[in-house]
Amino acid sequence: MNWFREILSVAISGLTARKARTLLIMLGPVLGAAGIVAAVGLNESAKGDVRQTLERLGTNLIVASADGSFSAGQAPTLPEDAVERVKNVSTVDRVAGITEIGSLTVHPSQGGKDFFRTIPVPVLTSDQNLLNVLDAQMLYGRFINGADEDNIFRSAVIGQDLANSYQYLPGEVRTIDVDGKTYGIVGVLENVDLVPKLDTAVIIPKSAAEEDFDVEQKPTTLYVRATEGNVDSTADALAMAINLGGDEAVTVAVPSDLLEAQGAVDTTLRNILFLMGGLALLVGGVGIANVMSISVIQRSGEIGIRRALGHTKQTIALQFVLEALFVGVLGGIVGVVTGVSVIYLVSSILGWIATLNIPLFLVAGGMALIVSVIAGLYPAWKAARLEPLETLRLG
């Protein structure tokens, strides 16, 4: 134990005695580890906001839409009991349908009629559990509820973007003109990232739509949440589950796929950056070997006297390997900290979400350590092979 403590102390004193040279040696692992952490971290941080959105929205939402030609001013529809049919799929967690009503004009009933006429506004009815299926939130007010349906109230929920366009103020009592009928706005729906068309839509009760516009209550689109890990199989099964072999054409899409593709870290780019960091580390390793080899020559007198005092070749070699090990450990830590600082700095400047990959820290730090030790082996071997007679210049 004393032996190991002593050799540690000799190695540390060897490093601290020549601070400038130690810092120079350490630059290699520092830059290498910092390069790996920063390059990969920045690449991931650049995608961080998209991935954060995905995390919030979930990737298990499936959209099943009726596909086909418009008929009698009505969008193509799914079977009336499509929701019930989909519920029978065992991997479906929850489902809600909407019915888009075509050929309706919408504008605010109070002033500015001409100005707003040009904005296309989809009008639709929906199941009351739509918010639950979409994990959507109300910005103000409430969603269509059972009372609206039962009493055939002319209530309306509008999307956040539409509310902005109509300059709707929170808490304001406002109405909206839907094809000549005046509906009272009961709530504003917060933007739904996965279903952007809702952001400019007007949602009215099914009963009111039937009363005012004589709409068939067949859904045009279903929003389905699959159970964990069953998104693809559910998506594959949906079309058949909905039309049961009938002639209704069904298009199935997973909206998060697109986001996922946008948010996916480019593995090729990441690998290239990782490789470049690794190369920096390798160059650093060559630097360590170089500077330490020079150091061995400069310290040949010290090595010679230690050998004369009875220190073995192995002890001398271990002393230099330990010096390299310390350089690697310290360089790795400083490198990772530097890399993380760069990630935070650049992310804050560019408005990214700093993403830290903890296992990568261990990889980068570990690589710095391994490269340092390997780079230290040659100088250590050289030091051990120095003949004391040659270094002490006798006689």
Binding site: N2, W3, E6, I7, V10, S13, G14, A17, R18, G301, E302, G304, I305, R306, R307, A308, L309, G310, H311, T312, K313, Q314, T315, E387, P388, L389, L392, R393, L394, G395
Partner: protein, 263 residues
Amino acid sequence: MNSTGLKNPNPAGSTKVQLFSLDNVYRIYGEEPVAVHALDGVSLDVHSGDFMAIIGPSGSGKSTLLGLLGCLDLPSRGSIKVSDTEVTELDDGARSKLRGDSIGFVFQQFHLIPHLTALGNVATALLYRDLTKSEISQRALKALDTVGLAERLDHRPVQMSGGEQQRVAIARAIVTDPLMILADEPTGALDTKNAKMVMDIFKNLQGENRAVVLVTHDLEIAEQMDRVVSMRDGKIIADDLRSERTESLQNTFWESGSGSKLE
């Protein structure tokens, strides 16, 4: 008589113990026909209590002899024994341990480790011996005290004079309580005053159980030694005891047929 044909300075009946023994040792560098015979069949015994100088001109083989006596090198042929241990049969680890335990070195250029204090330099000789930190400190401090430098234990070599540095080197040599102190031109880099101080320390280190061997060019230094081994062309040409010396070394040396002064 030994193999050089010279009389044995420690005849039978002496109470001195043989510490080091070189028997018919050759040290040849390179290969024939360009081989250099640095030592050519040298035999030499070093006994406890010896206060010995090895003298000779440059190229006479005294540095090679010093390397072999110090177990820093191995002979091309011949036997080297420390006590009863045959050095040529030891691996590097065992030879290093033997060197650390049995020999204390003092060099002309001091060879102190520049970033260590006087205490640290002396303590370096005690590393890897399973001693506690306080044991090492106490022994190093005692050795520094022996050479009169207990007050300067925290000074680095650059903060000390040449004489002080050489005294630290002597403290480092004696801290392990070796069988032999092997000094290579220990006064060569010192002024007269410091050289005298260092020689006085060596005289005090001479003891019943220890040998002091100095390699030197300086005949005045050699004159102060009890035993003087003269070398030329890789051979020992004289091995004299002061008690039996009738002429000055200077004259002996000139008469030995060297044809040149010591350098």
